[in-house]
Amino acid sequence: MKKLLRLPVNRYVDYGLFLVLALFPLSGSLFYTQLIEKYLVFLIFAYSLDILWGYAGLMNLGHAVLFGLGGYVMALSLSARGGIPDFMANGGVTQMPGWLQVLSNPAAAVLAGILLPALLAGLLGRFLFYSRVGGVFFAVITLALAQVFNLFIQSQQTYTGGFNGIGGLPGLSLFGNELTLTQGYYFVFCVVVLAYVFCRCLMGSRFGLVLRGIRENETRLEFLGCDQARFKTAVFAVSGALAGLAGVLYAPVNGMIAPNDVGMEFSTAVIVWLAIGGRGNLTGAAVGAMLVNVLGNALSENFGVFWQLLLGAVIVAVVFFVPDGIVGALIRAARGRKAGKAVESRG
């Protein structure tokens, strides 16, 4: 009990959020349950960026590439269930390519959807971090990557459905049985909780400490015998795997995937979630992702044309009044009360 009381504030927020999410399907609204299910997937995606940006300080402006890679792998797999998918047939493909046959095995697709983004991130990290590309330069490269990936997806119509994306995908299924909406929701919810626990443990370990060291002063860390490039590559790969996992879930949950989901726009969207929620504490990522999406959905209905204007204004206001994000501000307030104690956001 005492231990529970001594927890940092943001943990309460985490637990509260999970509680609400766990109970949500009881509300009985089919539409909103499905919507929130999708946002649950976004939570994983937000976590994956938080360990990269919030902890290690690596701002990835093309994070959706990793998400999209997972998503496209899964979408291809799902769409290949019933033989050659439409877009391929229209492109003149008459025989199912070998790799697609492999992918049509769901287990293989899940594995590939997680490992390919991890591999891409790992290779990119290996390629960049060892030559000390960092800061704005990392941001620009990832931005360029998002553009390349987007163009690539759009230009390979035959294999990716091009601009229209891959749609009409079947929903989540487990061992061959299609899940009902509620089952699917709880399945995704469990994966989110697992991802959360994984991230929290990882960031609480010495690995997390080193990452924050990298964010603060990476050169100093090198003179303490730490190979910062290796750590950065590792966290990039882990983040890639998580983002890939989110993508893998997204394809069946959303029923479709399109270039919109992999380009700059979606990448900036995650950044905005983290900015509004707060970064470097996992909680902010979750709160930001939920808040922005739920509000975005609600506002777009009630405010028509004005809702994007409002979103822009809200971003400015949040940055302005609570620069550490909502959760950051909360932690700071709590810290003000019991000053001097080491705090979650830093630890």
């Binding site: 000390r132 704005v136 490269i141 553009q147 163009l151 994007q308 822009g312 204004a313 620069p323």
Partner: protein, 294 residues
Amino acid sequence: MPFNEVNSMDSFLALLLNGLNSSALILLAALGMVIICGLMNVINLAHGELIMVGAYTAFSVTQVAGLSFAVAVPAAFVVSAAVGAAMELLVIRKLTGRPAETMLATFGISVVLQQVTNLIFGAQSQYVAIPIEGNLSAGRVVIPYYNIFTILFAAAVSAGTVLLLKKTRFGKRVRAITQNRTMAECLGINSARIDTLTFAFGCGLAGMAGALAAPVKSVSPFMGGPYLVSSFMTSVVGGIASFFGTAVGSLLVGESTALLGGVSNDVFASILVFLLIIAVIRFKPEGLFAKERR
């Protein structure tokens, strides 16, 4: 990917000239970015929208008010600079020393600017007449007079900017603040005022780029995105605080897009150019023309 052959010296020359024109527009757009990003360490994601503001100013001045394009260009500078100054005074200033937050704030501002423009003018693209018609043609090589004007204009503006920053007291103050704000203040420099001026100047340049692009590109609320990306890339490839680097960077991006587009297609060319940029940064992690550091 199949490559077409460039079948003659003529068309090669034409490609080069086209590339030069693209480079000039990129350079104009990137200059403001270099000033704001390189000198103030602010990553301004609303850069594209300031270009848009300039383009809309050109539209309002020439089509609505019916004045000449020669008025539109300085007007675009003034209007964008005013928007920039307002941004700096109201938002950026309060976020000094927090680069990530500043960036996010500018992102928010970019969305606001887009939507406000959308509300005022509508989403459809607006017409701005080309001020100088006609073109110079020699054999296969065609170059519109307006392109020549753009190239010269870009060169002149860059030269002016470099002179302003390298030779004048204003420039020295700006650079001093960039490097150590507190210390610059202790040496008697009014950092607040200089910040506003610098930011406004950078934004003004962006606006001017917008005005120049308006007659040949489209003028719409969402036109800013591509400009942002290309200015961002260009300034980074050149080495963020280096004007010479930016010039080279824009030549690199403009020419390689034109040449690759010439021998292959535009989609493939853009992919290649992005990869090229990634490679440049990989092997020159601080940009092509970075300063030595200790």
